[in-house]
């Protein structure tokens, strides 16, 4: 489904963010990428959603070279990828409902689909009572659940979660992980980055370990070795 083929990223100050990274992600897989801060996890995700370009190598989404897509096709690609970030990235002047509705509207869904699916997905993440709250009226865990609801509402092919529990307490952390596992069980591919040992052990599954921009381990059964 996704393949990073000898991907390197060198910034103008000559710092190396990614160094010859190659690995693939299969459909319906739950893959966890672990590594310390600065290991290159977020850069890898930026490559996949075409927010940044590799210096060398190619990133494939299915058979398409992500960095050879036209602007309009990049928008279409992003509609097939649900993203969740550590800093939530919600639109501050929109309510929980509107943040999720925006993703659906951007994907070209009809008004009736929006009005039926948004409350439903907010119920799924247990936020049915806070549908009209603005992000500043929600706790960190609630914001992250809105972000997950926004990521899944368009039924994307893959969910990418970049340190989604980084700003959360242990209880909320495991709530979020449970939701991601539930989404995975429904057949969606999940790519998670984290440096939380407990999270890795809770999930199990495939773990790719990165250090200084390189993939140093790729274990089929969750191991946190750092």
């Amino acid at each position: 489904m996704i393949y990073f083929d000898k991907v390197s990223k060198v910034y103008p100050d000559e710092s190396i963010a990614l160094d010859n990274v190659s690995f693939g992600v299969e459909p319906s897989e739950f893959i966890t990428i672990v590594g310390h801060s600065g290991a290159g996890k977020t850069t890898l995700i930026k490559m996949l959603i075409a927010e940044d370009r590799p210096t060398h190598g190619t990133v494939f989404f299915e058979s398409a070279n992500v960095h050879k897509l036209r602007k309009s096709d990049i928008s279409k690609l992003r509609r097939r990828i649900g993203t969740v970030f550590q800093d939530f990235r919600l639109i501050p002047n929109k309510t929980a409902y509107e943040n999720i509705a925006f993703a659906m509207e951007a994907s070209g869904r009809t008004d009736s689909e929006v009005s039926s699916d948004v409350p439903h997905v907010l119920e799924l993440v247990d936020l049915g009572r806070k549908i009209w709250n603005f992000p500043h009226e929600l706790s960190g865990g609630e914001k992250q659940r809105v972000a997950i609801a926004r990521a899944i509402v368009t039924q994307p092919d893959i969910i990418i979660a970049d340190e989604p529990t980084g700003n959360l307490d242990p209880i909320n952390t495991f709530e979020i992980i449970k939701i991601l596992q539930k989404i995975h069980k429904l057949g969606t591919t999940v790519l998670l980055t984290t440096h939380n040992r407990d999270v890795v052990e809770k999930i199990g599954g495939r773990v790719v370990t990165m250090e200084k921009g390189k993939v140093i381990r790729d274990d089929k059964h969750g191991k946190y070795v750092l």
């Binding site: 927010e51 928008s75 690609l77 509609r79 002047n93 993703a103 994907s107």
Partner: protein
Amino acid sequence: MIFTHFKRITRTGFVNFWRNGFLSFSATIVITLSLSIFGALIFGSAFGRALLKEVKNKVDINVYFTLDAPETGILALKKTIENLPEVAKAEYISRDQALTDFKEKWKDNSLILQGLEEIGDNPFPAVLNIKAREPSQYAGIAHFLESRDSDMIEKVNYNQNKLIIDRLGRIIPAAEKSGTLIAILFILVAIIITFNTIRLIIFTARDEISVMKLVGASNLYIRGPFVVSGIMYGIFSGVLTLILLGAFAYYSDVLVVRFSGIQGSSDLGLLANVFSSYFLQNFGQIFLIIIGSGIILGAISSYLAVRRYLRG
């Protein structure tokens, strides 16, 4: 789908305008200031035109006839002059009319009226008062009159008025040119101020734009609501500017009359109520210019300001 997109973009633009109350208020005030510059230019040019018209009206040439010039000959000359393309108006003042006017003017001065009686006969010549369409055309009209070599004509007073006519001929085109240059300069300043204000507002929304890109929104879908908000800044600013211009037009006329020490505004000639009458007579045009400029300024500034965050 196009209609649905348009509806959603418009709705989001409206909602953002109201939710970002302080930013919208700031943008509206800045655009109002810019549009007020446009308004000041419109009024300045109206006042300048009225002033020039007033001055042009004061300039004329008079043809004084001999005392025995026959009226039929004078009226024939008047008709010939009126047919000249340069002539806007020719007014005949007969000897009797000149005498009546003089008596009316000096009716309270018995010394002058007594002197007039002592002369016995009417000493005033008939006069033809001529106004040209443009000050530069007086020389040609005077030359035409002098070249006729008529026995009826005693004197043409063009040479006495020549100095002011020549000066006006130079000042008017220079004033028009410099007025246009100043107007262009002010309009540029207004556009730059507005653009920078809207750019700052959109700078505060840069994270919002990146989130929109992240969920796969098209550039049109991201940019649209900002342009709609920009149009709303323009409309509100336009209405506010029109209210300010209307108030200025009304109160400036009242103040001119009050502070000029003139009893009635009619003494100001063409300058009487120049602002309020210009505002009322040209309201449709002023409305279109001010509201249209506001909408165009708001929409284009927003469109351009969002562009830099849509790259990549």
